[in-house]
Amino acid sequence: MARHLIIGMGAAGFSAAETIRQHCPDATITLVTEEPYGYYSRPGLAYLLTNELPQSQLFPRSEQELDRLGLERVTGRAVCLDLQARQVVLEDGRRLSYDALLLATGAAAVPPPFPGANLPGVVTLDNLDDARRILRLARKAKTAVVVGGGITALEIVEGLRAQGVRVHYFLRRDRFWSSVLTPEESRLIERRLTHEGVQIHYRTEIGQILGKKDWRGRVKVAAVETKDGKLLRCQMVAVAIGVRPRLELVADTPIQTDRGILVNERLETSVPGVYAAGDVAQVVDPLTGQAQLDVLWPVAVAQGRAAGANMAGVPTVYRKGVPLNVTRLAGLVVTLIGAVGRRREPDGDLVTIARGDSEVWRGIPDVLVVHDEHEINRQRLVIKDNRLVGAVIVGDQTLSPLVQRLIAEQVDIGPILPALQSPHVPIAEVLRHFVQNGR
């Protein structure tokens, strides 16, 4: 009987387990996870922070459903791969044997680089324990400083506001998420944050985090000192400056890595029988030949399924779709599809890729960009060679399914290009008319 071993129980690991079970009713499937909670929705943590969800609601599968899957769950930390013996070694010395191995260890927040970052009260947001820690600190904190960019930084900012904490949000440069959003889109988000009571500090960086002993003699965060020497009192500091694929387990092994674990289109690493999927995997796109990182939940699910099928002996090629992320920024639903990024414009607030980001979004050259800029409901279309290659839809999402389809099916929109480029044209109307009438 085949032994399938999966390291990591996030979206990729769990999807792989479900897929293996579909194909192999009798196989042994073991999931190793560092967390005691089981499978939960990582993106749902944002809504735990805003009080929109209780913790108990984060689990998409009931205990009965999990029982039916017949998974063996091991709580522990994998520390070493013994590829010769086909075993994974856990921190407590246990050795788990496998016939097929999936590495779905995800990505972890880049640790804060400033002095004082190890003080209690300095947090990052990777998992449920981190979210619980943030909530616990927020109960006592009056003021917090948040640094970083992308979706995770805003999840923390908005979560802390919902907990009644006064938030100072530091941006190193002039605007929010400059590698993905246009200046106008950034301003819209910043205006709404300010309206929610968030104090944004532009061109501001932490120099150091200062601690102070409390009455029990324990040192805690008391203030931050900015690089230009200003002191700001606060009781917690949250940092979201990007994530890195967790590669510790494959260090000193023949498994090839770049920024992530390199895998082929069957999600197999350079070592046969060892697969990788999700945030840790860097997948070669057969169309471009480039290997890119996607730190996206739906991508992790799709990769997990493909890896699971291959592990179960059903040859399956993972076709990289157009990356899509839907998120909520300052209360606005925002859909990002395809190549929407600002051509390699560096993002001052992120040192690596952000959670909820895709390297595919770093724009492609020579594109035509058309906007429809209402105060809140906005659309941005990125067009190359008469085809839509990316879109950002902010606010009203009625147009999203249609745009998703036009991008995925690479429809020639040549006939409506002149109309789309005319000033003040309602993009939504032009696209709808085109889909209904072909012109």
Partner: protein
């Protein structure tokens, strides 16, 4: 028409409107956070429907719109039930 009659007429039109619509998910946008199921006043596991990409069908959903309004990612929307399906449902219930 008296007050009772107009109330009855209002209820009849309301039920017809409810039967004609249903909640439909776009599973590609869903991250299984569960806000939809949490806010359903009837305890329908909307998240499971979203995972399978299936409309929330059946007699329990009152199309109150809580799940549609609360979903932070625009996964759910109302859709008019196709005419034939509407007839089947009205015969069933």
């Amino acid at each position: 028409m008296g007050l009772l009659g107009s109330l009855f007429d209002y209820e009849r039109r309301r039920s017809k409107a409810l039967a004609a619509g249903r909640v439909v998910p776009d599973s590609s946008r869903c991250v299984q956070c569960g806000i939809c199921s949490f806010n359903c006043p009837l305890g329908i596991d909307v998240r499971a429907h979203a995972w399978r990409g299936e409309p929330v069908n059946g007699g329990h959903c009152i199309t109150c719109g809580e799940c549609v309004a609360r979903c932070p990612r625009g996964v759910l929307r109302f859709e008019q039930i196709p005419h034939s399906l509407e007839r089947i449902l009205s015969n069933t219930f």
